[in-house]
């Protein structure tokens, strides 16, 4: 795992030099999603860059969350959902039946809209993932994983004295950072965030955004957001979804200053949504 990380660090530094040639982490090709008879996503193809933040924006019900959930195959847990198309991650099609979604999800972490810590201690919340994946042997190693994860999520200083306290006793913003730490703990390569700040106040939101910006240096982050300002603040790439279709995808700066499509223009200027 460590060697792997090193390899990624190298590719990253070269990618930083030239943003245009940043390596592609996730390559989605012709994705369709059906909920029963209803088609939620229509033929979306999208390339997501490594070590950057990609924001999905669009009005409610446009399919951005559904598309996000394709990337770690969370849609598999919804019985009526059917996903077609190919998603390549580091060259392997994750939609291939031979790929185990459980293993995939240890590489693609997810943070949900509502903070959902386990009703366990703060320590156990972080340790659960590494424990089931066997990422730490022994108590000392696990302590280190927990500390590192909490540090990366910017929560260590706030909770280091009360690790055995229940995770549900933290404030909303802290809970969400705990969830991010929990996702980080299993050393994922991609972190999916489904409206991570929608249940938080502006101060907690600012902290999370700051955190996302820091995490960008190590992970490929995809964030679904309803807040255009947030997308503009944290992301390098932005994809605009509407009625299950990808309308426009490009550098965030360009999308917000000079959108190609009229509907994108209408949405970001607040004419609908």
């Amino acid at each position: 795992m460590d060697g792997n990380m090193e390899h990624f660090t190298q590719t990253k530094s070269s990618a930083r030099a030239d943003a245009a040639s940043a390596p592609i982490k996730v390559d989605c090709q012709n994705i369709d999603v059906y909920y029963g008879d209803k088609q939620a996503i229509e033929d979306i193809s999208l390339e997501i860059e490594d070590r950057s933040v990609t924001a999905f924006i669009g009005p409610s019900g446009c399919g951005k969350s559904t598309f996000l959930r394709c990337i770690n195959r969370m849609n598999d847990t919804i019985e009526s959902a059917k996903v077609t198309g190919k998603i390549f991650m580091d060259g392997a099609n994750i939609n291939d039946p031979s790929i185990d979604p459980v293993l995939l999800r240890s590489r693609v972490g997810m943070v949900f809209q509502k903070p959902n810590p386990f009703p366990k201690s703060i320590y156990d919340n972080i340790a659960y993932g590494p424990r089931i994946h066997g990422l730490a042997s022994g108590k000392a190693e696990m302590d280190e994983v927990v500390e590192n994860s909490l540090r990366k999520a910017g929560l260590w200083e706030e909770v280091k004295d009360r690790l055995p306290a229940p995770g549900t006793g933290l404030s909303g913003g802290q809970q969400q950072r705990l969830c991010i730490a929990r996702a980080i703990a299993v050393s994922p390569e991609v972190i999916l965030m489904d409206e991570p700040c929608s249940a938080l106040d502006p101060i907690a939101t600012a902290k999370i955004e700051e955190l996302i910006d820091e995490l960008r240096e190590r992970y490929c982050i995809v964030i679904v957001t309803h807040s255009m300002q947030q997308a503009a603040r944290v992301s390098q790439k932005t994809a605009f979804f509407h009625l299950g279709k990808l309308i426009e995808y490009g550098d965030t700066e360009r999308i917000f200053t000079n959108p190609e499509h009229g509907r994108t223009q209408d949405y970001i200027t607040g004419r609908f949504g």
Binding site: M74, G109, F112, G129
Partner: protein
């Protein structure tokens, strides 16, 4: 000209007459519903309290029992006629012990030439099996044979009931001293009372206790003069004509104190005869009758004699049955619920299964008894009347309850917990067993305990698989013939003798104690689990 009254009618005040009227109506409705609720709770509490009071009131007499402390001479000729001193032989020789007790009682209380009927009355004060503990004790220490031993001999249930104030309404009065006693013990005694007042008091008490609802049923009086008991046959002025019943065979001596025990029912109408009452009173006056805590209720098994019947076999039977029920219903129920709730595809087959489980919970329990008799006994050839079959039947009976309660508890776990677990790469099974199931555990346990409590109180299905059999011994295991508490209660409640009534109430209390204990355990376990999570 503009005036402040112009403008919309309700400006400045929303307290119009119409609004006040509506408000009053609303308050009225609120008060009414509050009252209905309080009324409902009141009715429930009154019903519960009445039930408990009546059960405890009836059972109170069953928790104590009267015994006669008797100096018994263990004679070898009765208990060990062959002289083997073999404990088994001695323990089995119940009739020998019985005969010994009877002969010694006859020696003390009866003349040589006593009538057979009178003998039977005396022997009837004890049950045949009252000597069982004596036989066992003697078998355990054969060296006591030939010596005198003090034993507590259980009195017959009717005598016990009489001592507890039952059998007949009665009143005991003092009627002064004897002025003169004439006649003969054998043919009839005439006793003259010293005071006229006492005679009138006796007459008044007799009239008072005579029941008005039954014709030709005058009250009777037993007269005690000195230590001898007589029955009052008639009276004329201060002269009472009496018949000898029990005690020293002598005429009332002048100046002896007299007492009258007036009974509302004559001996034809009660289960205890005049003579038995007289003996009982004599023994009581001698201080030889003791009231003891009725441990037989918990140590003995079922018996045809209420004074010897106990719940031990039924308690053990119930425990064994519950064990089998729990082993079947709880794991199967929880796993069925987990599968249906977490893993099963939502299709027509699963919804059909769901509907059927819900319907099964409403199937009358006796139907499960028929099923048990047909499948477990006839088809699988398991023995009748055993806790294994009873437990299996009850397990099937409570299975739907456990499944429904467990599913409800699983549904109540927020889906965010499941997605959180899946999100960090837990498999479906891991998310269920590490997160969902522990969170649902308190609810599942409540359901399981409710189901077990239902099983504990179930009678009908067990009747059909033969658990109503008379079981005189504590079962050794789940394959041993046995009965359970509710069936025992049912059987005892149908007993003809009056003494079964308190016995039944006592058994009900034992069952209730069990239920309360189960609920207590459930609450404690639930608290534990909730604290951990």
């Amino acid at each position: 000209m503009s005036s402040p009254t112009e403008g919309p009618a309700n400006t400045g005040s929303f307290v119009t007459e119409e609004a006040l009227r509506r408000l009053k109506k609303r308050h009225g409705a609120e008060a009414r519903f509050k009252l209905y609720g309080q009324l409902a709770i009141g009715i429930a509490i009154v019903a519960l309290v009445t039930l408990l009071i009546s059960i405890f009131g009836q059972a109170s007499s069953a928790f104590s029992r009267h015994v006669l402390s008797y100096d018994l001479n263990i004679e070898a000729s009765y208990v060990d006629p062959d002289g083997t001193r073999d404990p088994d032989e001695i323990a089995r020789n119940v009739s020998g012990f019985n005969l010994m007790l009877q002969d010694q009682l006859a020696d003390e209380f009866l003349p040589e030439d006593a009538d057979r009927n009178v003998q039977r009355e005396l022997y009837g004060m004890f049950t045949r099996l009252a000597v069982l503990p004596i036989a066992r004790a003697t078998a355990d220490s054969p060296e006591t044979i030939g010596s005198e031993q003090i034993f507590n001999v259980a009195l017959a249930d009717d005598i016990d009931l009489f001592l507890k104030g039952g059998v007949s309404a009665r009143k005991s009065i003092e009627i002064g001293e004897v002025a003169a006693g004439e006649g003969a013990i054998e043919s009839g005694v005439t006793l003259t009372l010293a005071s006229q007042d006492a005679t009138e008091k006796l007459g008044a008490t007799l009239t008072e206790l005579t029941r008005t609802d039954v014709d030709n049923a005058p009250a009777v009086a037993l007269i005690k003069a000195g230590n001898t008991w007589y029955r009052l046959e008639g009276s004329e002025d201060r002269n009472l004509s009496l018949t000898y019943l029990a005690g020293p065979r002598m005429l009332p001596s002048n100046g002896a104190a007299t007492e009258a025990l007036v009974l509302a029912q004559s001996q034809e109408n009660r289960t205890v005869t005049d003579r038995q009452i007289a003996w009982t009173e004599i023994l009581r006056a001698q201080g030889r009758i003791k009231s003891k805590i009725n441990t037989t209720l918990f140590t003995n098994s079922d018996s045809t004699y209420p004074e010897l019947a106990g719940t031990a076999a039924a308690i053990v039977g119930s425990l064994l049955t519950m064990l089998v029920t729990a082993l079947l219903a709880i794991p199967v129920g929880i796993f069925a619920a987990v599968y249906l709730e977490e893993f099963a595809p939502k299709n027509k087959l699963t919804s059909l299964i769901e509907v059927n489980i819900n319907n099964l919970a409403a199937v009358p329990s006796i139907v499960f008894g028929l099923l048990g008799a047909a499948v477990f006994i006839n088809f699988m050839g398991l023995p009748r009347s055993v806790p294994l079959v009873g437990g299996l039947v009850l397990g099937l009976l409570v299975l739907p309850t456990v499944i429904i309660a467990s599913r409800a508890a699983l549904t109540a776990v927020p889906p965010s917990i499941r997605t959180a677990a899946l999100g960090v790469g837990a498999s479906k099974t891991q998310s269920v067993f590490h997160h969902v199931l522990p969170l649902a555990a308190p609810g599942i346990m409540t359901g399981a305990i409710i189901g077990m409590a239902r099983a504990l109180g179930e009678t009908a299905p067990l009747l059909l698989i033969g658990m109503v059999a008379f079981v005189a011994e504590v079962p050794d295991g789940p394959m041993d013939e046995s009965t359970v508490l509710p069936v025992l209660i049912y059987k005892w409640s149908t007993g003809a003798e009056r003494a079964w009534e308190p016995q039944t109430a006592a058994a009900i209390i034992v069952l209730l104690v069990f239920l309360v204990l189960m609920n207590l355990i459930a609450i404690i376990l639930r608290r534990r689990f909730e604290r951990r999570w």
